[in-house]
């Protein structure tokens, strides 16, 4: 079993989001970067699968050298080797093209992404990648079992769940519940230092979109407090005053 896990490097969930250069660049000053939480689940599940059935887990990251601490962390958690495509990840289309270009020649049985990056929240890489590689894509999976070259998965759908089965190879995106993330141990951290991390250059392709500016949501006007003994009046306010219910 040969598995590819797409790892993105994102700001920690507690980060305060601000921008520089006239609101055109994300301000990374003082921001701690982590492996995208959903990608961590994808990686852990990939390891569980290969530990049971044998095989390798390769991670791939589209990013500049500053993404390497997260890539090393992936290796410390247990990935066999890692690839970094040396380019700034500007949009999902570009990222998927880079990953597809690498994966094409490699013949992976399974490619896992996260449900979405907690930075740019596009949630599109799995579908784009599936189409670019001519493979099925199964989004937001909460479980995956593989037997005799067939993956059986559960996935979230609007208002419920779906059970799907699909012949390998395929692309799937990890949703929470897939497994519990693994924390690297000392041995893993030591081993990660010498595991292969290959850097490849980006394939030239035309960008289809570009972020031109960022903005922050308007500040709230301040909370209006209702005394607990008048709690029932909340309903009147919502119904009569602001007509929201």
């Amino acid at each position: 079993m040969k598995i590819l896990v797409c790892l993105s490097n994102v700001p920690d969930t507690t980060s305060k989001i601000t921008f520089t250069d006239n609101n055109t660049k994300f301000n990374t000053a003082g921001v701690q970067f982590i492996i995208n939480p959903y990608d961590e689940l994808a990686l852990t599940r990939a390891l569980e699968i290969t530990e049971k059935q044998g095989g390798t887990v390769t991670t791939i990251t589209v990013g500049l050298p500053e993404t390497e601490p997260s890539i090393r962390k992936g290796l410390a958690i247990g990935a066999t080797d890692a690839v970094r495509v040396n380019a700034e990840a500007t949009d999902a289309y570009f990222v998927a093209e880079q990953i597809a270009a690498y994966a094409k020649a490699e013949g992976f049985d399974l490619i896992l992404t996260g449900r979405e990056g907690i930075d740019y929240n596009s949630g599109q890489v799995a579908g784009l990648l599936g189409e670019m590689l001519g493979l099925p894509s199964v989004n937001v999976i909460t479980s995956i079992e593989i037997e005799n070259g067939i993956a059986t998965m559960e996935r979230d759908i609007d208002g419920g769940k779906e059970k799907v089965s699909c012949k390998l190879p395929l692309v799937a995106s990890a949703q929470k519940e897939l497994t519990e993330p693994r924390i690297p141990n000392m041995r893993g951290i030591m081993a990660a230092r010498t595991k292969p991390l290959k850097v490849v250059e980006a394939t030239g392709s035309e960008k289809t979109s570009a972020t031109v500016a960022f903005d922050l949501p308007p500040a709230k006007g301040g909370v209006k407090l209702i005394a607990p003994e008048d709690a029932a009046s909340l309903i009147g306010i919502l119904h009569n005053d602001i007509k929201i219910i």
């Binding site: 969930t13 507690t14 989001i17 921008f19 959903y38 949009d91 999902a92 289309y93 907690i118 929240n121 596009s122 949630g123 599109q124 890489v125 579908g127 784009l128 990648l129 599936g130 099925p136 894509s137 989004n139 909460t142 059986t152 979230d156 759908i157 609007d158 208002g159 419920g160 769940k161 779906e162 059970k163 799907v164 089965s165 699909c166 395929l170 929470k176 519940e177 960008k207 289809t208 979109s209 972020t211 031109v212 500016a213 960022f214 903005d215 922050l216 949501p217 709230k220 909370v223 407090l225 209702i226 607990p228 709690a231 029932a232 009046s233 909340l234 309903i235 919502l238 602001i242 219910i245």
Partner: protein
């Protein structure tokens, strides 16, 4: 510009988000001098199909192939991309639901189209084609310029108005040319909770946190939710402890929602929780701790014990609705 709208349906019924998408697409078509074309895949009767015309569809293309009764992203994407080509569509509008998200990327890759998802604005076509989308789980917005000839927009549900704009649209019944190769994925079983509003589509959400002490107290959330026709939600620890199903967990690592009204009960308001709910139009926080961070993000607040306050609110809500 011709605009193709993917008219998502479940069991022959269109969703509210589908009508939002039709209105959104119709606005673009009108502004740029094109047609709003709805693509419907799977079995829908004529009476329901006609609903799309009341919100502005100029043309309705209905692909009624048996095989499309199961939602397989590969085959759906193939059909939608083919229709886009046939109809000369330069903009595709898809709701950013689980279903929409499953096909949007595939359609974009087929059409070599730039894609923006989580879109929260109409496109600005003054120079180029610019849309605003949510990023950093609701903590910020990004303005994205799409430069490809065809553009795919996955729009955020509950963001755009449904507008009446009755037209006499033609319904074109077509059949799709699909082979077994388009159905590698096999849907084994679908279980949908019927009669329940999906969290991402709910206009009102009532959510509970660890302050409620245990699952046995969840009637406080459910009773209010039922009285208001709302969907229930919860904070991450609540689903981690299995008090509530994971599907109800909202926040940065859960579901991102933007209802008209979000009522948070016994939730502290941690940054990761707020990230997923702060785009709600009106926020009410109920917490016994006056220092709880939620009060900084809320429009209305009650500093009080949920066990004393909630019964009063539930009673008032029931009285209002009856």
């Amino acid at each position: 510009m011709n605009v193709l709208i993917f008219a998502e349906q479940i069991d022959g019924i269109f969703k509210k988000s589908t009508f939002e998408a039709i209105s959104y697409g119709n606005d673009i078509a009108k502004k740029t001098g094109g047609q709003a074309i709805a693509a419907v895949l799977g079995l829908v009767d004529n009476a329901h199909l006609a609903e799309l015309a009341t919100y502005g569809a100029d043309k309705i293309i209905h692909v009624n192939n048996d095989k499309l009764s199961a939602f397989v992203p590969e085959s759906y994407a193939k059909v939608v991309a083919e229709i886009a080509n046939n109809e000369n569509a330069s903009v595709l509008v898809i709701s950013n639901t689980y279903t929409g998200k499953s096909i949007a990327g595939r359609v974009a890759a087929k059409l070599k189209a730039g894609i923006a998802s989580g879109v929260i604005s109409a496109p600005d076509t003054a120079s180029g084609f610019k849309v605003r989308r949510g990023v950093f789980s609701g903590k910020a917005f990004a303005d994205v310029n799409i430069s490809s000839a065809i553009k795919v927009l996955a729009i955020t549900p509950n963001t755009f108005d449904i507008k009446q704009d009755a037209k006499s649209a033609d319904i074109a019944e077509i059949s799709a040319d699909l082979s077994d190769a388009d159905f590698i994925t096999n849907i084994v079983e679908v279980s949908r909770v019927t009669g329940k509003i999906p969290l991402t589509e709910a206009e009102v959400v009532v959510s509970g946190g660890r302050g409620l002490k245990g699952p046995e107290n969840w009637h406080l959330i459910e009773d209010l939710a039922n009285a208001l026709g709302a969907a229930p939600a919860c904070s991450k620890p609540v689903s981690d402890m299995h008090w509530r199903p994971h599907s109800e967990h909202v926040g940065q690592t859960g579901i991102t929602i933007k209802p008209n009204l979000y009522i948070a009960v016994g939730i502290s308001g941690a940054i990761q929780h707020l990230a997923g709910v702060s785009s709600s139009k009106v926020i009410v926080a109920i917490n016994k701790d006056p220092e709880a961070p939620f009060f900084k993000a809320a429009d209305y607040g009650i500093v009080g014990d949920a066990f004393e306050v909630m019964p009063k609110i539930i009673e008032a809500a029931k009285a209002l609705k009856s």
